[in-house]
């Protein structure tokens, strides 16, 4: 009975517990606890405003203007004519004063207008709309996969705190916690897609396929598998660390002692009681991870595997110097990140009265 309450002596374990607790502090209470809900919403609105303003101002701060890029020597739109240039400037409203431009830009945003892609001449909103689904599919699959593995590992590891398995898992995940996803991604791409040919080498579907029904689903799954596994691996680490440390903090609780005295089975105590109580901070972490992933992992994974999501679109736009497309993708990605953060914050307040205080 004492087993669960005794502190583990290992140096590794002590370090791990604090780091994981630090992770909780960083992720869960990133908005300090005493902050009211309204302050959180205020900070969110300020951040969105900063992002929108960045999106408007940054291209205009840079040397040259979008028309220079549009008319650059060697581009298919190359025109060396002052009148055309002036017309273009009028068309893109670049002849107006900056405040006027900003006002028109905000008005456009309010209508959901992100401008028109210079390369394809299609509305950026429409082009992004086609891609959001793929990005969502990728993140959702990765989250599901990592939860399936990371949470049970964390529960078990925390329950068996200080034992051989726990120390091994903890050491491993602590060591890999900061590894960037692109190293593994690049190698996995070359080995599994290019060399072994187990997975397709890019895209979300086989081009020009005529698959229907099950075959179509299988085709999509085959393309999704490798990027999703990599992203899941990225998620796994924090989910494991937070689940474990949250589990450890439940050990030695009175309710476990009571349950044990009542003669409840070990399994029931572990999953039905301790794990259920320990799950709360993990829910928050999973939500925040999704938002972090939109900000970084998604862009990298989609680039390696040429996955047709929003991140891939951003890169294509950068390659072709398509300013409106670039700005649109940037805004959608970043606003999604901060919005997810806010939603997770509000949700965790609702779920856990201690955070709301």
């Amino acid at each position: 009975m004492n087993r669960i309450a005794e502190p583990a002596p290992a140096d590794l374990d002590r370090a791990g517990t604090t780091v994981a607790e630090g992770a909780i502090d960083l992720l869960v209470t990133r908005s300090p606890q005493r902050r009211s809900r309204w302050v959180a919403v205020g900070a969110y609105l300020a951040t969105v405003f900063v992002l929108i303003t960045f999106n408007f101002a940054l291209p205009r701060l840079m040397p040259g203007d979008p028309i220079d890029a549009l008319m650059a020597f060697g581009s298919p739109n190359y025109v060396d004519d002052d009148e055309t240039r002036a017309n273009l400037a009028r068309y893109y409203r670049l002849d107006e004063s900056l405040p006027e431009q900003y006002l028109h830009y905000l008005q456009g945003l309010a209508r959901g207008d992100l401008g028109v892609s210079v390369v394809t001449n299609v509305s950026v909103t429409e082009e992004l709309g086609d891609r959001v689904g793929w990005s969502f599919l990728l993140i959702a699959t990765a989250t599901g996969l990592s939860m399936l593995i990371g949470l049970p590992l964390g529960v078990h590891s925390g329950w068996k705190r200080g034992k051989k398995l726990d120390r091994g898992l903890l050491g491993f995940f602590l060591a890999v916690q900061n590894l960037p996803i692109f190293i593994l991604g690049a190698v996995a791409f070359v080995v599994f897609s290019a060399q072994l040919g187990i997975f397709p080498s890019g895209g979300a579907t086989t081009p020009f396929n005529e698959y229907r029904g099950i075959a179509e689903v299988l085709d999509i799954a085959r393309h999704l598998a490798l990027p999703a596994i990599l992203m899941a691996f990225d998620f796994l680490t924090y989910q494991y660390l937070v689940m474990r440390s949250s589990m450890v903090s439940e050990l030695g609780s009175d309710y476990l002692l009571g349950g044990r005295a009542k003669g409840l089975r070990e399994r029931r105590l572990k999953y039905g009681y301790a794990a259920r109580n320990a799950l709360l901070p993990v829910v928050t972490v999973i939500g925040l991870q999704a938002s972090v992933a939109v900000g970084a992992g998604l862009i990298i994974v989609e680039r390696i595997f040429s996955y047709p999501g929003v991140g891939g679109y951003m890169f294509y736009a950068i390659g072709t110097r398509d300013y409106p497309a670039m700005q649109g993708a940037f805004l959608v990605l970043t606003v999604t990140v901060v919005t997810t953060n806010l939603l997770v914050d509000l949700l965790s307040r609702r779920l856990d009265p201690r955070t709301a205080s």
Binding site: G22, A43, A46, L58, L174, F182, A186, G295
Partner: protein
């Protein structure tokens, strides 16, 4: 320093981390002597297999891959050192201001930190680098600009708790000016906590630079691990034969080991210097 040596003796993790980071520092500093060729010189045919002349073969331009690996260490170190110094300067200045002045200054600095903390860094860096044209200076500046809030917060909370302890009030009461108190009392007391934080920050800087150059948005003229990894991945030849074994794997491994070094130090130092630790122990 004595405390550090003590810690080194107690923790194998810290020792391993310090050894790894020092090894990279030495290799980076001695790059011109360690590397057999200039990293950009055409020293052989394209895609030579590993041999005695070229330990890791040559890349698509006929440059010696081993030399590029060695010189890449230097870029990584430059980014780690410069970005960390920048973050230290900004984080200390703002954190100390907020912690010591309190009131309006505190509120303003911390609200700005909140907003910066919420900004998604990688998309912003990509956006800026794509617009401004990538360069090493820009990468360092940007990493510094977007990573300071965490350090500032730690400095602020530490300063606040130090102020409570009285010796600051006494020093002020005895006629010590704010700068004197900062130099003589606050900075030495803050040192260890900030040191542990900076190791993490250095790791973040290295990872961010590598990610940026991997995405093709690093300095095109710098020899960088991330950029070389990207170059290999973009090359059609990588899918044929075992070229990836000596062109991609070494750069991936170097990055992995370097980041591992920073992580190990950070993980080992945190419980010693983190004030949260004493609380967690009770």
């Amino acid at each position: 320093m004595k405390r550090f040596v003590e810690a080194l003796r107690q923790s194998r993790m810290l020792l391993a981390g310090v050894v790894l980071v020092s090894a990279f520092t030495v290799i980076g500093a001695l790059a011109p002597w360690v590397a057999p060729y200039s990293p950009s010189a055409i020293s052989g045919d394209t895609f030579e297999r590993p041999s005695r002349a070229h330990l890791l073969g040559t890349n698509d331009a006929g440059a010696d891959i081993f030399s590029r690996l060695v010189w890449g260490t230097r870029t990584t170190l430059v980014v780690a050192v410069c970005a960390t110094a920048l973050i230290l300067a900004v984080g200390m200045a703002l954190g100390l201001t907020a912690g010591l002045r309190g009131g309006l200054a505190d509120t303003v600095v911390m609200r700005i930190a909140d907003v910066f903390l919420a900004l998604p860094v990688i998309p912003l860096l990509i956006f800026i680098a794509a617009l401004a044209g990538p360069s090493l200076t820009l990468s360092i500046l940007m990493i510094g600009l977007f990573t300071w809030p965490q350090t500032a917060r730690i400095v602020r909370s530490q300063t606040l708790s130090l102020r409570q302890r009285g010796f600051v009030d006494i020093a002020r009461g005895l006629g010590g000016g704010p700068l004197y108190v900062m130099r003589r009392h606050l900075i030495p007391a803050l040192g260890p906590v900030i040191g542990a934080n900076l190791v993490f920050v250095a790791g973040v800087a290295v990872t961010t630079e590598a990610a940026m150059s991997f995405l093709g948005l690093g300095d095109p003229s710098a020899v960088s691990w991330g950029a070389e990894l990207n170059r290999a991945l973009q090359n059609d030849q990588i899918t044929l034969g075992s070229l990836w074994l000596w062109w991609m794997v070494p750069f991936g491994l170097a990055l992995t080991v370097a980041i591992l070094g920073f992580t190990l130090i950070g993980v080992a130092l945190e419980p010693r210097f983190n004030p949260r630790w004493s609380r967690a122990q009770t």
